[in-house]
């Protein structure tokens, strides 16, 4: 803004820019849905902050550093426990950046952390504030931005869960307003008019609003025809699947009945399902499924409900015989859930109004019903026992599995890739008992490079096996991925297993403990829906396993029996060595196993490992190098963006030293013409002479420099006066022109 703007003009410019911000906010809503963040306000506040800073046109450095500080501050508040700019802060940040750059370099988009995504989004907002300033205020071009916004919002509406119903109307109003404003401002600056304040309202704002209201009303109330084209989503998602993209609207949210198509991201739905008063944390079982299709889980048999009276309850799982506990479940209104949630070892239930329980023996579904057969949403008092078996018992459990069990719980789809079985076999190698084998598979996920996340989880392509994709391609996912993979691997090596659904222990919301009894109230929301694994042990029955990383269940074993073993691979190794009937490893194998622990050997083997390319040090240093390189490039880029005019000028004038040859002058002259083209002064066509063009340029820029320079250029090419090139006069007029063009 070279020339001083009048107050009215400044105000209108501000309005225009503010409109840009409003439209930018419309972009945020769907993006937030994509990112699934919980901090929408922070983006708005940060956007306001950035836009205001840019509008104030403070020095570039000041506003840039303020924006970056704001960005880091937000990240710190959201994600980092340490104080802002504290001691560990830099380390933490570096680690974060490292991790994400590796993920990017390997194109593992689902490995990106939430912090990184939010950082990128904030950076985008900061950049957008600059970009919009240039677009809207310097260039006064609104149309492209508006059209892009419309396209973006409609695409989001079509392909995601985002509903753009009102967003479109808001966009329409704001963009119409901006278009008029931009046009008005453009005219004013073109003809160098001043805004007359006295008739400003009646001549500009009044009619503008009137026509806006009329247009919106007509658009809103007018009849709208049905869509002409069929819904493109099925077609497009089909195409996307074929190319193996992650794009899919198929997203799971909490507890559902249909598990036949697993995969895709998991939407956090915080609707409370029930509350429970219980002395300890434990899982709440609901049902199991037994038939794996390659895409998900189904029931192989129809539900066959038997009626069970409250008094008729036997121990549901006979192998439970530990201490006796009680819990009360309160179903919440507002969530439609009609099955009983029960802990392992559940034996009795008290509820006055319950007439009977509908019980399916295969899945374990229990539905409390009233006399009229309806689900009862009254509090239910449950009695249960903690597990009564020991690890020893499980190891010793042996014996045949009945044919029915086989057909139900060893079922696998024929198309299951062989490598899944091969992997399972390699995992259980060296483990003799079924229990140890199951443990090994359970532990495999935490030992290998798997990670838990709920968003950006890929959907298997058509024909691709869900487990296969998880085990060998993505290696990221949530409970469904881990539990299904474990069941499938167990089955592939002949261990009967099934897939169980239920809820985790939830969030503790109240401490109800008294002096002689521990009691807590937990709230279980739909996002606590979970799935895990049950393995069948002859004589003992179904024993739960928890393969999902980050989850642990106390149900698996009695505490004394050694549930401490859970996630520690080293201990598992110790166990293996202690195992009496285990084959003694050959020395070579032992060395291999030990190598990551003993650094000396590692050094000895370094050469070999370098060839293999998995030396950790090497990886580390190359990571550091990439990180520094990317950091350096980023800094250079930012500097370049901030100082582009100076850089361009430097680049253009650098040719001074090269002005020795006629070609250099010629090239410089044409570069200038290209720059002028970018500034909107175009050469008519190739039949326009350079002097005519120069006159046009000079007229528009209010100078004579281009004509002067063109005369020099004429002398060069039409007079063949190559000696002229080195003369200072030529360079001076060139320099003058460069300054004018970049002004």
């Amino acid at each position: 803004m070279k020339k001083k703007m009048s107050k009215a003009e400044l105000f209108l410019t501000f309005l225009l820019y503010f409109g840009g911000l409003v439209i930018a906010l419309e972009w945020f809503h769907p993006i937030q849905e994509l990112l699934q963040t919980d901090y929408p306000m922070i983006f708005v506040v940060y956007a306001l902050f950035c836009f205001l800073l840019t509008f104030m046109q403070t020095s570039v450095w000041l506003s840039l550093s303020l924006k970056m500080t704001g960005l880091l501050f937000i990240l710190n508040q959201l994600f980092m426990p340490s104080p802002f700019l504290g001691a560990n802060w830099i380390d933490r940040l570096t680690e974060e950046v490292n991790h994400n750059f590796i993920a990017i370099s390997q194109q593992n988009w689902y490995h990106l952390t939430e912090m990184f995504q939010i950082a990128m989004f904030l950076l985008l907002i900061a950049l957008m504030s600059y970009l919009l300033y240039f677009w809207l205020i310097t260039m006064k071009r609104v149309f492209v931005y508006v059209i892009l916004s419309f396209v973006f919002v409609t695409v989001m509406d079509t392909f995601t869960l985002y509903q753009a119903h009102y967003a479109i109307i808001r966009l329409f109003i704001v963009s119409l307003f901006m278009l008029v404003l931009a046009h008005y401002l453009k005219r004013i600056s073109q003809h160098q008019l001043t805004i007359q304040l006295n008739n400003w309202f009646s001549h500009v704002i009044g009619p503008l609003f009137l026509s806006l209201i009329i247009a919106v009303l007509i658009g809103y109330l007018g009849p709208k025809s049905e869509p002409v084209w069929p819904d493109p989503v099925p077609f497009l998602s089909n195409v996307a699947e074929r190319f193996g993209g992650i794009v899919n609207a198929n997203q799971r949210a909490g507890y559902g009945d249909d598990d036949s198509e697993l995969g895709g991201s998991f939407i956090q739905d915080r609707t409370p399902v029930f509350q429970a008063d219980a002395p300890t944390e434990h899982y709440w079982r609901v049902e199991s499924k037994d038939y794996y299709t390659g895409n998900g889980w189904e029931r192989s048999t129809e539900l066959q409900f038997q009626e069970l009276r409250p008094g008729e309850f036997e121990l549901f799982y006979s192998y439970y015989g530990g201490s006796y506990q009680e819990a009360t479940v309160y179903y919440m209104d507002g969530f439609n859930f009609d099955k009983l949630v029960y802990p392992y070892g559940f034996s009795e239930v008290e509820q006055a109004q319950i007439h009977y329980f509908a019980h399916d023996a295969v899945t374990g579904i229990i539905e409390p019903r009233s006399a009229s057969g309806e689900f009862i949403k009254e509090p239910i008092h449950l009695t249960y026992h903690s597990p009564g078996y020991t690890e020893e018992q499980l190891r010793r459990a042996n014996g045949g599995v009945s044919g029915e069990m086989r057909s139900l719980y060893l079922q696998l789809p024929e198309e299951l890739p062989d490598r899944v079985t091969e992997l399972a076999e390699s995992i259980i190698e060296g483990h003799a008992t079924q229990y140890d084998q199951a443990l090994a598979i359970e532990q495999y996920f935490s030992q290998a490079d798997f990670s838990y996340q709920t968003n950006r989880v890929p959907v298997p392509a058509t024909g691709q096996d869900y487990v296969d994709q998880f085990l060998f391609e993505s290696q990221v996912g949530y409970c469904d991925n881990f539990s299904t993979a474990m069941v499938v691997m167990l089955r592939s090596v002949g261990i009967p297993a099934r897939w169980v659904k239920g809820f985790t222990s939830g969030d503790m919301i109240q401490d109800l403990s008294t002096d002689d009894q521990e009691l807590y109230r937990y709230q279980i929301t739909n996002s606590h829906a979970h799935s895990w694994v049950e393995v069948y042990f002859p004589q003992i029955g179904w024993v739960p396993f928890e393969p999902t990383i980050g989850y642990s269940s106390s149900d698996i074993l009695d505490e004394e029996a050694g549930s401490f073993e859970s996630n520690l691979p080293e201990e598992l190794n110790v166990d293996e060595e202690q195992e009496p009937n285990q084959e003694v490893d050959t020395e070579e194998e032992q060395e291999e196993q030990n190598s990551p622990i003993e650094p000396v050997e590692q050094n000895q083997n370094q050469e070999e490992q370098m060839i293999e390319g998995d030396s950790e040090q090497q990886v580390e240093s190359s990571i550091n190098l990439t990180y520094w390189l990317i950091g350096f490039i980023t800094v250079v880029l930012i500097l370049a963006i901030v100082n582009w005019k100076k850089l361009l000028r430097y680049y253009l004038l650098k040719r001074k030293t090269h002005f020795k040859h006629a070609n250099d002058f010629q090239r410089a002259y044409w570069l200038l013409i290209r720059l002028l083209y970018l500034r909107g002064i175009k050469r008519g066509d190739s039949s326009e002479t350079l002097s005519d063009y120069a006159k046009k340029v000079d007229q528009q820029l209010g100078s004579t420099a281009m004509s002067e320079l063109t005369t020099h250029y004429h002398q060069l090419i039409y007079r063949n006066d190559q000696e002229l090139v080195g003369k200072p006069a030529v360079f001076q007029s060139y320099q003058k022109m460069v300054d004018i063009v970049l002004a």
Partner: protein, 316 residues
């Protein structure tokens, strides 16, 4: 160079003093003069053709002859005749009006083709041949021929092929109201020509003509001329395009024009400015084009628009 250019501007200013609002015509006439070419003015009577030529002659300190072409004018009335000299017992050549510096050949389309061709031959050769004897006409030799628009009755239209003897063909056209008012205001007791001063002399003109020859024309400009000329030959509205003589004429005119503009090299702007004046009358249009009221000038302008201006050069 610069000095001569200043005097050229003076000549132009001087003539503009009496010919109001016709700077283009003056510059083009001088261009033809310096390029040793001739001008054909096509205009209705009374727009100041004679005045222009006389002012030109006076400014350059040249002799001025006027030949009024009438239907009964004989070739010898133009070129001169050999007369028997009784004392010397031999024929002696008596100069015709064509042998001079600046000649106004008025209304050439009113005379017979035979006389016309005598004039055109003299212009072309810069000499006259009478009874086998050739007499050279010295530079500066500048003929400004005028003709009434063809529609007038009682005219012998010049054969189109002959027209390319003229370097430049132009129209003066009527002055604007404002210019006409100025003219009326200036008209007083004395003839305006009397008030004109002489700016250059004949030797200066000859010297300038030599300088014009030295004006540099770059090969890329030559190519440009060639492209323009070749385009006239393939243009659908043109029966007969510009001859190589036309290309040469354009180059010579451009040199003179560049000289007047104070340059010793030609730029494409010179060519673009001159091409309609130098080339248009050399085109013979098809009947269809004539019927569609197409004009040579418009075709040339079209061609200029179609041909790329040379703006780059390969330096090695």
């Amino acid at each position: 160079m610069l000095e001569k250019q200043v005097t050229m501007l003076e000549v132009i200013r001087n003539i503009n003093h009496v010919i109001i609002g016709k700077e283009d015509v003056v510059v083009l006439s001088l261009t033809a003069l310096l390029a040793k070419g001739h001008v054909l003015l096509e205009d209705v009577p009374g727009v100041g053709k004679t005045m222009l030529v006389r002012a030109l002659a006076k400014s350059l300190d040249c002799s001025f002859n006027r030949i009024q072409f009438t239907p009964d004018l004989l070739p010898s009335d133009v070129t001169g005749v050999s007369i028997y000299h009784p004392q010397k017992q031999q024929f002696e050549y008596r100069r015709g009006p064509i042998v001079g510096d600046v000649i106004l050949a008025d209304e050439i389309n009113r005379t017979s083709p035979k006389t016309q061709s005598a004039l055109l031959e003299a212009m072309e050769e810069s000499s006259v041949t009478v009874d086998g004897e050739t007499v050279k006409i010295n530079q500066p030799f500048f003929v400004m021929a005028t003709q009434n628009p063809i529609e007038y009755e009682g005219t012998y239209p010049l054969p189109e092929a002959q027209l390319d003897r003229f370097l430049i063909k132009l129209n003066m056209g009527y002055p604007t109201a404002d210019e006409e008012r100025q003219m009326l205001a200036k008209t007083g007791g004395t003839h305006p020509i009397e008030t004109l001063s002489t700016v250059l002399d004949k030797e200066d003109v000859v010297e300038m003509q030599a300088k014009v020859d030295e004006v540099y024309i770059d090969p890329i400009i030559q190519d440009y001329i060639i492209q323009l000329v070749r385009q006239t030959r393939s243009h659908p509205s043109v029966q007969l395009g510009v001859s190589p003589r036309g290309a040469i004429a354009l180059m010579r005119a451009a040199k003179a024009f560049a000289f007047i503009k104070g340059r010793d090299y030609i730029i494409p702007d010179d060519i673009i400015y001159l091409a309609p004046y130098v080339l248009a009358h050399r085109l013979i249009l098809t009947h269809e084009a004539k019927f569609a009221k197409e004009t040579g000038k418009r075709i040339i302008q079209q061609i200029i628009h179609d041909v790329d201006v040379p703006t780059r050069k390969d330096f090695h």
